[in-house]
Symmetry: C2
Subunit: 162 residues, 2 copies
């Protein structure tokens, strides 16, 4: 996709991604898995061929996080995230950018909602994205989050094993 | 609107607002009007009964702005904005929150695209919003931006008068 694919000379494509999952864990446990940088790093560590290095973690409203990832030994992508709203065990809203080398390829805001359904959790992940200059695409984002949430699910199941 | 109006126990309503305008000015002049804090303050100053006080301005990628507004003498609203992407004369992407008193009522990401059509500018403003706990609504946001852009248009026209 190139800039020319945007109609009318535009350089931004806006999309909203909604992913819904049920986890066999309480909202408190799911929230903890989102809030804990070590747990996030475990989910993102090699296995998909994508290493991740966290440069900065600050899980609080106004706090900023920076992480780098990409093929092993080649962390060409940098994600910068700022937390906009945090309601413990219920909600996280964050916004940030994705950069490839020196080029910003997307900006987005993401909302994680944790809804209790008794003992388990219905999670709704909503990402409102702006893909810049045709350098990042919706499909990659949806696939990446699908893999990440599969790992979260596996991690929550493992914690329950004796 | 209350939390109970959100289906399934959700606490966030997501919406995308798109406002398109044509301005009788070059993209460079329209961009300057967005970038200049003094110009923004003029547009937002009383006349609609809403005073504005800018506490912090930092128009650069990663820069943060804080402004307060509300009825005269009662600046109950606080807007915090971080710039995510800036392409001079072409594009601004920003994200932030709106707080009423001590309560965060919304988070959003906004993209301003400036497209040249010769001597004038086609501007597309896209706001991807998350309204929190039923405390902020789409209609207010659309009306507020409509008024703000009317003032921008008037300001650009005035600058052209002899």
């Amino acid at each position: 996709m190139t800039v020319n694919d945007f109609p009318g000379g535009r350089t931004v494509r806006h999309d909203t991604i909604v992913i819904e999952r049920r986890f066999d864990a309480t909202p408190a446990r799911v929230f903890a898995a989102w809030a804990d940088p070590a747990a996030r790093a475990r989910r993102s560590s090699p296995g998909t061929g994508r290493g991740i290095a966290a440069d900065q973690h600050d899980f609080r409203v106004g706090g900023r996080e920076v992480s780098r990832f990409g093929p092993a030994g080649e962390p060409v992508y940098r994600a910068e995230t700022t937390y906009l709203d945090i309601v413990p065990d219920r909600r996280i809203v964050m916004a940030g950018t994705m950069t490839e080398g020196e080029t910003r390829i997307s900006a987005s805001m993401a909302t994680v909602e944790l809804l209790t359904t008794g003992d388990d959790t219905r999670m709704i992940y909503t990402e409102q994205a702006a893909f810049l200059d045709g350098r990042d695409v919706l499909e990659n984002r949806v696939r990446g989050w699908g893999e990440n949430l599969d790992k979260l699910d596996a991690e929550l199941r493992r914690e329950c094993e004796p």
